[in-house]
Amino acid sequence: MTTSAADVELTRVLLEQADRLLRGEVTREVLARADGGEFPEALWRACEDAGLPLALVPEESGGVGLGLAQGLRLIRHLGYHAAPLPLPETMLALMCWCEAGGAPVTGSVTLLGDEGLTLHSSGARFRLSGRALRVPWGASAGHVLVQAHDEAGARYLALLPHALVRAEPVRNLAFEPRDTLNFDRLEVDGSMTRVVPGNRAGSLYLLGALMRAQQMAGAMERCLDYALSYATERQQFGRPIAKFQAIQHMLAEAAGHYAAALAAADLAADAWQTPRFEFNCAIAKARVGEAAGKVAAIVHQVHGAMGFTQEHPLHFSTRRLWSWRDEFGSEAYWQERVGRLVCGAGGAALWPALAGE
């Protein structure tokens, strides 16, 4: 996808603003309180004031009008700072909802794919049934964007207000809410649903996978920053441990995984609105998810016992990596998808699929 110079400039300004805001506001205290279950209201309001939830909503609908590839850069920054907010979810949910003709809502919006949900239509009303697991901020988000099929296979989006949702609280390893939502023949008014545009490639699940891939790329960069600082500051045997070849090689290996993850994540971001988007998203989640585990293991080894405590902030990032790699499909799930596509097409088709026709 081509990006205009104005887009690039807008993205640069927005990213700089967001970075400043996050650097100042996502403190260890905020992260610790979020771990304890407290929603960071002030941080959310600051993000709202900066227009971030509406970053991907078109300008004519009152948004910032950023393209997805640029929006994903912002999402990577949020991952870098471990921002304990459903902001990436809100950005993507509002993008999809507005794209389908809906109007943006205020407050946070979470999203969930159509696994295990059915939509029965009766005239202008719908009934939604099923159970959704591990929904990000499912109990606390202002709205839930659901993707579901009706009996005829038509794809719908439904934007459900918080009051309609029954949730059971569950947390991931980073103590981020990942709640269970139960829908028992929930009545959904036609005004809350939109037909998914026919040309729309990919599901909310796929976008969720790309979102987590970008967040993980950001979190890995943060982990490497922590490890590089620690290795140059920590002295043992009379010198910084960075001077030991064993440490240098471990961090070089981690940098390789991070670099490959970054390349894979951006490969998918740049494929938005091309026929390659689904394939590249699968590649991104598979490659980034694998790198996440390896980078987390190496940076912990470099930090020694200190990294295994809550005295050092490393855990805010590594616990997220260990959570995010399994959300919206683990690397095994996406590797299998890629493998089946590749084997189905045969060996001769692989190279043109990667390098271009």
Binding site: E221, L224, D225, L228, A231, T232, A242, K243, Q245, I247, Q248, H249, L251, A252, E253, A255, G256, H257, Y258, A259, A260, A261, L262, A263, A264, D266, L267, D270, N280, A282, I283, A286, R287, E290, E331, A332, W334, Q335, E336, R337, V338, G339, R340, V342, C343, G344, G346, G347, A348, L350, W351, L354, A355, G356
Partner: protein
């Protein structure tokens, strides 16, 4: 930390056009049975193939026209090489000259060297080998002991080089020799020379590799005479020339596509209905490959802009060669397969055998994994 840049590379239209041309050329070559896709493509020496590739305009494409080139972008060369490798083309004869010797001569050679040698290289008639390593100088390149001393209007070289791929078949080597004192960092006093292997004073001893193949050699020089206009660059400038080319040498598609044919053949052998394990493992390899391809293309674009992304280039080689080494380790577990160099009934078994026996070299040649990780660590600010 060091912010790596692997931005979306936009290939120029001439590169996209070149991709079509090279695919058509390779399809015709393969269709006529003039080559069988080879598992270790760029180690496979086939002078006739290289000659046809040169005549078709696929060697030395970035060089000026007056030296036999086509003045095209280095991204065109990048596309040509990745297509050759993906097709398993036996491009080993012209590989070194196209990748590094030719560009060195163009940049640092005398006018005579450029006029006499480069047009023949681009026609696919003249091949090169690398004369850097010595028996006591491998990763520690500054330890070279081969000496060149002034003798009238030329130089006399004494010493030996080792791991010299294809020295028994190529026409020239570029030899790194000590011409003066190294200084504190030992990087001074090194000079490169173009050495004609048909001239007297040089002998070549074969060294057979693990697969029984003869690629390596040891090359001995005794009062070997080189005219001064076959010197490359200023006297004593050899170290900077050698290290200056490394980003080109290390970030190319040859650092992750050496055994691409094994992956392609594995996919066909597994067939269109893989079991879950086969699908997961193949999908994993493809995800790695896709990321590497983007990294490598990004570095090529940076090089094309005249930048020196040395850390990124080292990352491509470290991650890329680790990937290459994994392919045989995974392939052997996905199918009931025992590698053999002479099992003609099962092509994949033979391919696997070649790759298993070549794979140890992937993380050694062109800078060992350990040297690369040292370079990456420096880029990260650790040393």
């Amino acid at each position: 930390m060091h912010a790596f840049k692997f931005d979306a590379p936009t290939l120029p239209s001439e590169a996209i056009e070149a991709r079509k041309r090279v695919r058509a050329f390779l399809a015709a070559e393969g269709g006529d049975g003039r080559y069988v896709p080879h598992r270790c493509s760029w180690s496979t020496f086939d002078a006739q193939f290289s000659q046809r590739a040169g005549q078709a305009g696929f060697i030395g494409v970035t060089w000026p026209r007056e030296y036999g080139g086509q003045a095209l972008s280095s991204l065109v060369r990048f596309v040509i090489t990745e297509e050759m490798l993906a097709a398993g083309a036996p491009c080993g004869a012209h590989w070194v000259a196209d990748r590094q010797s030719g560009p060195q001569i163009l940049r640092h050679g005398s006018e005579r060297a450029r006029r006499e040698i480069l047009p023949r290289v681009s026609r696919g008639e003249c091949f090169f080998g690398i004369g850097m390593s010595e028996p006591d100088s491998g990763s520690d390149l500054a330890a070279v002991r081969t000496r060149a001393r002034r003798d009238g209007d030329g130089w006399l070289i004494d010493g030996s080089k080792i791991w010299t791929s294809q020295a028994h078949r190529v026409h020239y080597l570029i030899v790194l020799a000590r011409t003066g004192e190294g200084g504190a960092d030992r990087h001074g006093g090194l000079t490169q020379f173009i050495v004609d292997l048909s001239a007297p004073g040089v002998t070549v001893r074969p060294i057979h590799n693990l697969s029984g193949g003869h690629e390596f050699n040891e090359v001995f020089f005794r009062d070997y005479r080189v005219p001064d206009d076959m010197r490359l660059g200023e006297e004593g400038a050899g170290w900077d020339m050698v290290t200056g080319e490394l980003a080109f040498e290390r970030s190319g598609p040859d650092r992750f596509l050496s055994d691409y044919r094994l992956l392609a053949e594995l996919i066909d052998a597994v067939g269109p209905a893989p079991d879950a394990r086969q699908a997961v493992e193949i999908g994993r390899l493809v995800a790695h490959l896709a990321a590497l391809l983007r990294m490598s293309t990004s570095v090529a674009a940076l090089l094309d802009e005249g930048r020196s992304p040395n850390t990124e280039a080292a990352l491509v080689k470290d991650v890329g060669t680790a990937f290459e080494r994994e392919i045989p380790e995974i392939a052997r577990l996905l199918l009931p397969l025992q590698p053999s160099l002479d099992d003609r009934t099962q092509r994949l078994s033979e391919t696997l055998a070649h790759v298993v026996l070549h794979a140890p070299s992937f993380t050694i040649r062109g800078g060992t994994r350990e040297i690369l990780r040292g370079i990456i660590a420096r880029g990260l600010g650790l040393r």
